[in-house]
């Protein structure tokens, strides 16, 4: 087809018709702001936004800024929610026409499907975050569950072992076999009974501080003034701080006594730790142990302070209520 024929066939009506058939809305305003060309879709949209025919650029832009009752534009965002349930976006462009005439082009795109998908994606992401949080919680419980499963497995093994020993002993006795001291059946019974007996003989439950005291028994004595807080996390961290000080006091200060003073005041526990060893010669630089301790304390919302001179003192302040000391 020649260009002459194409030009003949593509007249103004053809252009108008093709514009009107576009799913998007399109309109053009000249340099004076007058509406020059508007397709059917844009005409319908602008009527819905304003309630009347829009002929001027300024009016059109005012309407886009503050659409009428038939449209909502949440938080002055880029999406326009029409009464028929569709969602639209508007884009402006400055163009240069024939003869260097300047025009303002507006294109309206139907983003209903895209918006619905984004909304769905947003909801899915929210669900994913909730599920991720559940997995984290579950992972935190896995260790507890694993320990309990281990104990259960041990008990089942002991139970099975006793059962096997009983059956074996009964069979041997029914055959008239004398069970000697070093008979494997007797040995098995003995070890199982020892295990059960040990379980019953366990002395009164030791807490972590007691265990620490026993661990350094003979080398260093821990003297406690006050009581550990009831809040488990705070009590645990105070003992961890004490343990770190015990290690350092034995290694660097040749201390034989460590003093732990705990006071509680206004929802916080304050622990001061000193020792009777050689004072530090200079400022203490926090190594791996003290840095790790500081991280634990700060993560729990507490504060840690080290005094090097004239004598070493570690102070730890921990919240015992729900609020935290650090922001």
């Amino acid at each position: 087809m020649s260009i002459f024929n194409i030009r003949k066939k593509l007249g103004p009506d053809a252009i108008r018709e093709s514009l009107d058939n576009l799913p998007s809305g399109i309109c053009f305003f000249d340099s004076n702001g007058f509406l020059k060309l508007c397709n059917r879709t844009m005409h319908k949209l602008s009527f819905e936004l304003s309630g009347h025919d829009v002929q001027y650029l300024k009016e059109f832009e005012e309407v886009l800024k503050s659409p009428g009752n038939k449209c909502t534009r949440p938080m002055n965002g880029k999406y326009y929610f029409m009464a028929d349930g569709t969602v639209w976006m508007f884009a402006r462009k400055r163009i240069l026409g024939a003869g260097y005439q300047r025009y303002t082009e507006y294109i309206a795109s139907d983003v209903s499907e895209l918006y619905a998908r984004m909304d769905e994606l947003g909801n899915n992401n929210k669900k994913l975050l909730e599920m991720a949080s559940e997995i984290k919680k579950m992972s935190a419980n896995v260790l507890t569950i694993a320990r309990e499963e281990e104990t259960l497995s041990m008990k089942m093994r002991v139970h099975d072992e006793m059962g096997r020993s009983l059956i074996a002993a009964r069979r041997l006795l029914s055959q008239g076999v004398l069970l000697e001291k070093d008979n494997p059946v007797i040995e098995s019974w003995k070890s199982t009974i020892e295990l059960l007996k040990r379980g019953n003989d366990e002395p009164e439950k030791k807490d972590m501080l007691d265990e620490l005291r026993e661990a350094c028994k003979g080398m260093l004595n821990i003297r406690l003034k006050g009581t550990l807080p009831e809040k488990e996390e705070a009590a645990y961290l105070i003992v961890v701080a004490t343990r770190e000080c015990v290690t350092n006091a034995m290694r660097y200060a040749n201390a034989t006594e460590l003093f732990l003073e705990v006071t509680q005041n206004e929802g916080k526990a304050i622990a001061k730790i000193t020792n009777n060893g050689t004072p530090p010669r200079g400022w203490i630089v926090e190594g791996g142990g003290l840095s790790s301790l500081r991280r634990k304390i700060e993560r729990a919302g507490g504060l840690m302070e080290i005094r090097s001179l004239p004598t070493f003192e570690l102070t730890v302040i921990l919240p015992c209520d729900e609020w935290r000391l650090m922001t």
Binding site: L129, I135, T151, V158, R198, M208, C216, M219, R251
Partner: protein
């Protein structure tokens, strides 16, 4: 006589190991602890030749971290890491901590004494691999090291971008590996996968731990 310290917070498991030590002619019990963090202090105050160190002790204190510190300060003390968990990183982490040997509790108990004897004789006794764990249509043996690392990081981070930042790759890489794992296991999505991995203790999330490849 070899002096043995047992670090184990589960009473029955602890009593069982105590039983084997006390029944043996070669070993004597130096002490027992529930908390791995106190082990270093114990070694500073008491003669210890061998430690049976649980991985996860009271207050979630890590036996692996304690082992690393003790091996640095007291290299002559032998340490056998003991665990019932099949967490895939424990073997490597035990090696990194310079633990002398590693023992899975679920194996026959007589083997513990054999492992102790061999360790004291200077041998490093490690299982070849972590026990195989069934994961959907496949097993843990069919996941690559990178896939396990990606899975662990996703479980610790909760989202793709954070996981990518932690590992030092792109979000696209993370999704690529995750899709491969989902194809292998047959799980429908990452959450089914993570739930299964958690329940089987193949990966135990420890958000405090620094990642290593």
């Amino acid at each position: 006589m070899t002096k043995v310290l047992i670090v184990e917070d589960q009473k029955m498991a602890r009593d069982n190991m105590v039983g084997y030590v006390e029944a043996s002619e070669n070993y004597t019990l130096a002490g027992t602890l529930k908390n791995a963090g106190s082990a270093e202090v114990f070694c500073a105050s008491h003669p210890v030749d061998l430690i049976l160190m649980d991985v996860c002790t009271e207050y979630d204190e890590s036996g692996l971290e304690a082992a690393a510190v003790i091996k640095k300060r007291y290299p002559s003390i032998k340490i056998i890491i003991v665990t019932s968990m099949v967490e895939c990183s424990f073997l490597d982490r035990a090696r990194e901590a310079s633990a002398d040997s590693f023992w899975y509790k679920e194996t026959e108990t007589e083997e513990l004494l054999n492992v102790m004897d061999r360790t004291m004789a200077g041998e490093r006794v490690y299982p070849e691999r972590t026990p195989e764990v069934k994961l959907g249509l496949t097993t843990s043996y069919h996941l690559t090291g990178t896939e396990l690392l990606v899975l662990r990081t996703l479980m610790e981070s909760g989202n793709y971008q954070e996981a990518a930042d932690k590992i030092g790759c792109t979000e696209r890489n993370i999704r690529f590996h995750l899709n491969n794992i989902l194809d292998k296991t047959g799980y429908r999505n990452r959450f089914e996968l993570c739930m299964a991995v958690s329940q089987k203790k193949l990966i135990i999330v420890d958000p405090d731990r620094e990642l290593s490849e």
